[in-house]
């Protein structure tokens, strides 16, 4: 614990330097405009990945709870986006920027509330009974994932559903000869806002202080008389709601929703958590952007290797730093 703090104080520059290093190293391999497009795309993808992964890193970090069902909240958010934007089709296709934003906002709020509520039920019904038992946590959440996926299919059907972006967010703008999709800028902005909000919450409020202290040393915080379990419910609900928002954004980015959307993202999210270090929101943010960038660069240079490259990246980071780039807590 103190080792992590000391390293942060000493200025852990090599972990921080990884992101710019990856960006610079890829520059000679492509034209500047392609690089700019890919970098923005990668950052936007990373921001969306961060939305989905941020809650999970705290869930792991705070209570050492291993859930494989996080993808279910992403899937739920994605399908809710289809339903809400379908119901508000008039707003979504209108030429007005404000109506488009309102439609997206409605989808986000619906996903926030619904996945937050689903997260509460999931924590109370499924997770609560298996605190501290890792093997049963893994099994039970895989069971929960099966049930959740099947319920989603029962409601929305098994076929992929198309999902159009609201009119104003389609197309791209040209900056310095590079085409940059508007939607990606929007996704990056939302991700930044959530990141800033989370960091403020964690560093400036009493609740955030308790969460950070709990991640570092759970027993000590409990010994001081705080009810970490009650706090954990809040973290779990927040994590689920963020995953739901991430699901909405990712679904709109892909423009198609399949039932495996959550399961596919889960693998990427685990890679991000492992690279970033469990329990670290900042590490999660850096790792998410790193994964987004690498996916986009490699996807451009060698399309077949895109997902494989992130797994190789994870292995390399683990060889270098077995506990991730920015480890937190006593572990």
């Amino acid at each position: 614990m103190s080792g992590a703090l000391a390293r942060l104080r000493a200025g852990d520059w090599s972990a921080y330097a990884l992101l710019p290093a990856v960006m610079l190293a890829s520059l000679p391999m492509m034209s500047l405009s392609a690089w700019l497009t890919l970098t923005v795309a990668g950052v936007a993808m990373g921001m969306m990945l961060f939305l989905m992964a941020a809650g999970l890193t705290l869930i792991f970090g705070l209570m050492q709870v291993f859930t494989f069902a996080h993808g279910a909240f992403i899937t739920l958010g994605a399908y809710l986006a289809v339903s809400v934007l379908g119901a508000l089709a008039g707003w979504s296709v209108a030429g007005s920027w404000w109506l488009n934003l309102a439609a997206l906002g409605a989808a986000l709020v619906a996903a926030l509330i619904a996945t937050g509520a689903a997260g509460y039920v999931f924590e109370r019904v499924i997770i609560r009974r298996v605190y501290g038992e890792h093997l049963r946590q893994i099994l039970i959440t895989v069971g929960g994932l099966i049930i959740a996926e099947q319920l989603v299919v029962a409601v929305w059907g098994a076929n992929p559903l198309p999902l159009a972006k609201p009119a104003s967010f389609r197309g791209s703008i040209i900056i310095a000869g590079a085409a940059i999709e508007k939607y990606r800028l929007l996704a990056a902005a939302l991700g930044l806002v959530v990141y800033a909000g989370l960091q403020l919450l964690l560093s400036r409020t009493r609740v955030g202080l308790l969460v950070r202290a709990g991640v570092e040393n759970l027993e000590m915080v409990e010994a001081l008389g705080y009810r970490i379990r009650r706090l954990f419910i809040g973290v779990f609900v927040t994590g689920a709601a963020l995953a739901g928002i991430g699901g909405v954004m990712w679904a709109l980015y892909q423009e198609v929703v399949t039932r495996s959307i959550g399961g596919d993202m889960t693998i990427l999210i685990f890679i991000i958590l492992i690279i970033g270090g469990l329990g670290s929101v900042g590490g999660c943010f850096t790792a998410a952007i790193l994964v987004g960038l690498v996916t986009n660069y490699v996807g451009f240079l060698a399309p077949k290797l895109a997902l494989g490259s992130t797994i190789v990246l994870m292995m390399a980071v683990l060889m270098w730093r077995p506990r991730g780039l920015f480890p937190v807590g006593a572990g």
Binding site: I140, V142, G144, I146, V153, A154, G263, I267, I311
Partner: protein, 361 residues
């Protein structure tokens, strides 16, 4: 338990690990007899295929149980090892002249690769926190799935490989001109009995392994890894060996699957759905006892083939009700197995076998 070993032939065969309980023994005997005489009891191509799948999945689920139930490690890469064995045989038969040497070579290559990769994953877990293990296996398994779909020249990509098997196993082959007890003695029958005998032998070998001193150490690791290490056992070596063994056995199951289907593709042996099936089999049947996966495999394969028609009938009869017809739609069979899975993890952690054993006491 060990005193009995070596005295009676049955105890020798079962390594002194009897099922325990009359109901359970009868059930397992019924499974054994049903599988041994499947071609004569349930004539037809489809039932024979179902019986062969049950045999293969018994080996696959039991080998997974060595990791999950005996050592207490949740790995999500088991289908990858299954796929390695299947692709080994498939690639050998598709690229080399068809013959038994190709089958053996392919299976051996698949088994060796599976054991090697399992050892590498095990050594990696030396460097990382133990809690990363499940996540890393998931990532490695998805990497294998990508490789199998992308290396099109070798694996046939998304479409997979269709290949010929040695003549003895082809449907056109006749062992005898006349049918015996109304069953034609053709290559399908030979394939089935090859798979049945191999599966039985592998199952008995696994029983021997888990009841050996090695198996006891694995259980000690499951119960308390720290204590096992303090007693002087190198837990990493044992864990890695268990992983390699389990991977090699899964690869053998995969080789049998390839011979049965005369086809192999990513969806059959590598997809996450297969992993979920294995998990359901082991947990529903009962973790930490090899008899559990036997019952689990029977229940799940039968459910896959025969639950859907039953649910279709139920769904039709509920047509007037709200919501219910949707929930009992034949495609929702996995939903109910998922519910069963969660209930079993909560209330009967020892699964069917554990519950039956407790009743017998």
């Amino acid at each position: 338990m060990r005193r009995g070993a070596g005295r009676r032939p049955l105890d020798w065969l079962l390594s002194g690990d009897r099922p325990g309980g009359r109901v359970l023994s009868l059930l397992l005997l019924a499974v054994l007899l049903g599988l041994a005489f499947a071609p004569f009891l349930f004539p037809g191509t489809r039932p024979l295929g179902v019986a062969a799948r049950i045999c293969i999945f018994i080996v696959l689920a039991a080998s997974y149980d060595i990791m999950l139930g005996y050592t207490g490690i949740a790995s999500f890469a088991h289908t990858m090892f299954f796929g390695m064995g299947a692709y080994g045989v498939a690639i050998a038969l598709a690229k080399l002249p068809v013959g038994w040497d190709a089958v053996l070579l392919g299976a051996a290559a698949g088994v060796a690769l599976a054991a090697l990769v399992a050892i590498l994953i095990g050594l990696l877990s030396l460097r990382v926190r133990a809690i990363f293990f499940s996540m890393i296996t998931l990532a490695v398994a998805s990497f294998a799935l990508i490789l199998a779909t992308e290396l099109r020249d070798l694996t046939g990509g998304e479409d997979g490989l269709t290949f010929s098997v040695p003549r003895l196993l082809t449907p056109g082959f006749r062992l005898a001109a006349e049918p015996v007890l109304g069953v034609r003695l053709d290559g399908r029958l030979v394939t089935y009995y090859l798979i049945f005998v191999l599966s039985l032998a592998l199952f008995l070998a696994m029983l021997r392994i888990v009841n050996s001193p090695f198996g006891r150490v694995l259980q000690a690791i499951r119960e308390n890894e720290f204590r096992a290490e303090a007693l002087g056992y190198r837990t990493l070596v044992y864990r890695t060996l268990a992983g390699a063994l389990s991977a090699a056995l899964a690869a053998l199951a995969g080789a049998m699957m390839a011979l049965l289907l005369r086809y192999n593709g990513p969806a059959v042996t590598l997809s996450f759905d297969v992993m979920v099936d294995i998990l359901l089999m082991v947990v529903i049947g009962g973790m930490g006892t090899l008899y559990g996966p036997v019952l689990g495999a029977v229940v799940l394969v039968m459910a896959e083939y025969y639950l859907q028609p039953a649910m279709a009938a139920l769904s039709r009869s509920l047509a007037g009700w709200p919501v219910l017809p949707v929930l009992f739609h034949p495609d929702r069979w996995l939903l109910w197995l998922g519910v069963l899975f969660v209930l079993i993890v909560y209330f009967f952690p020892a699964g069917i076998v554990g519950s039956l054993r407790r009743q017998a006491r």
